[in-house]
Symmetry: C2
Subunit: 257 residues, 2 copies
């Protein structure tokens, strides 16, 4: 294996503080994006408006041209969201695409130290910056819809009524973000206290320190009133069980590292 692909370090994405936690490698960054249920997508709504806007969206990394590309290879970020009109118009009308920033953060633990200042979270975060444009062709749209549906639950796409019909194709807007740069940050392990506090017996004898693991848990699937399938399908029960166990083990490993 050669050197892992990295995003270029530019002024806007260089991790300046705690840079031992920073990463520019594509694999870990894309992995945080893909495992986060919701991404926050920021853009400038208009030159008159001083405030950036943020929309919560569902997104997944993929390559339409090289579908077999790995997570550690160059990928685009496909986005689907609800409040689309304004963002879609901006993306369509800008020549190069609309400059956006995409953020995702997974919290793995509460890090409880002797002093408030050194409290922290164990976490993995990722930020991408790139140009967003609407996906134009039906073939690429279906490719992205499958990625996004399978993000909600793996293998869900093949267990639903597909392909989307004409009305669904027209009404679905997908944004494709060509990533210019990105960065990630990871914090793992125990709290870090300073000698000035660790040496004080009155402080250490009264303050519990350590990590409380945090993870995303999934419950038993609850059928809706119109559901006609008696047994919960295996791909769903196994995902709910395995993914919760995996999420938990990631949190425990981060705590104990």
């Amino acid at each position: 294996m050669g050197r892992a692909y990295e995003y270029p370090k530019k002024p806007q994405n260089t991790v300046k503080r705690y840079n031992n936690r920073g990463t520019y490698e594509l694999g870990p960054i894309h992995s945080v994006i893909n495992s986060s249920r919701v991404l926050h997508v920021s853009f400038a709504p208009s030159p008159d408006d001083p405030f950036p806007a943020i929309l919560p969206m569902i997104g997944f990394m993929g390559s339409y041209d090289y579908p077999s590309a790995g997570l550690d290879e160059p990928l685009d970020c496909y986005l689907h969201g609800y409040v689309s009109a304004r963002l879609m118009r901006l993306a369509r009308d800008s020549e190069k695409g609309l400059p956006v920033c995409i953020a995702a953060t997974k919290v793995d633990g509460m890090v409880l130290s002797l002093t408030p200042n050194s409290h922290s979270y164990n976490y993995r975060s990722a930020v991408l910056q790139g140009y967003a444009r609407p996906v134009e062709t039906d073939a690429e749209k279906v490719f992205a819809m499958e990625l996004i549906t399978n993000k909600v639950v793996p293998r869900r796409w093949e267990h639903t009524r597909v392909p989307p019909d004409k009305v669904e194709m027209t009404s679905t807007m997908i944004l494709k973000v060509q990533v210019e740069t990105g960065s990630g940050k990871v914090r793992k392990g125990e709290p870090h206290d300073e000698a000035k506090d660790l040496d004080r017996e009155d402080v250490t004898s009264s303050t519990w320190t350590g990590v409380v693991p945090v993870w995303e848990a999934y419950g038993e699937p609850i059928p809706c009133a119109s559901n006609k399938v008696k047994d919960i399908p295996e791909y769903l029960t196994s995902y709910v069980k395995d993914a919760t166990a995996k999420n938990k083990s990631v949190a425990l490993e981060a705590a104990e590292e």
Copy 2:
């Protein structure tokens, strides 16, 4: 009780699609901000940079002037974060404060319908826009540090080595965001499928539909190597247990509504 306080509807925060899920009430919006472990804070780093920046930060709503103000009353958002230098400089150097956008989203369930297009999440999201400035006085800084520490774990502040010493006070930067406007969105309940699919026996007999509840779970606290307190304190064990149970019940209620 009179009418609940609402954020003003301006072009930039008006929820345009699915507006039955939108809210402008202060209470629900502040509640999402306070219950989200990480907030994503967006700002424009410089006029030359086309891309907005996003930083993950810890934040909590509060009022220094009226500390007893309720969640449904006007509050400021206090922010603390790691990559602070650039943001802090911009906030200090801009006259009115730096325009920022703050986003938080809690996912309560995966909503699995007959077609990919009607898949969704049950969720609660909040977005605030306002002007950020560094907190100047030590008294207000301590007020904000206590809010933020108790966000990580309730009542944690009083169980740590406080007050912060001189070095800690100087090195800690807190941003105070005076909120100009905000909005929230909530999705609860079952999937919504269309008659064209619900009427097709071949589709309904092969596609399980319903909701998979999603919540944030907390594990047994894990002491670190330097910890000297033998028993995990009660405020911590009860929080871990009660908060996980409460998070789960919110997800189940959202699914069954």
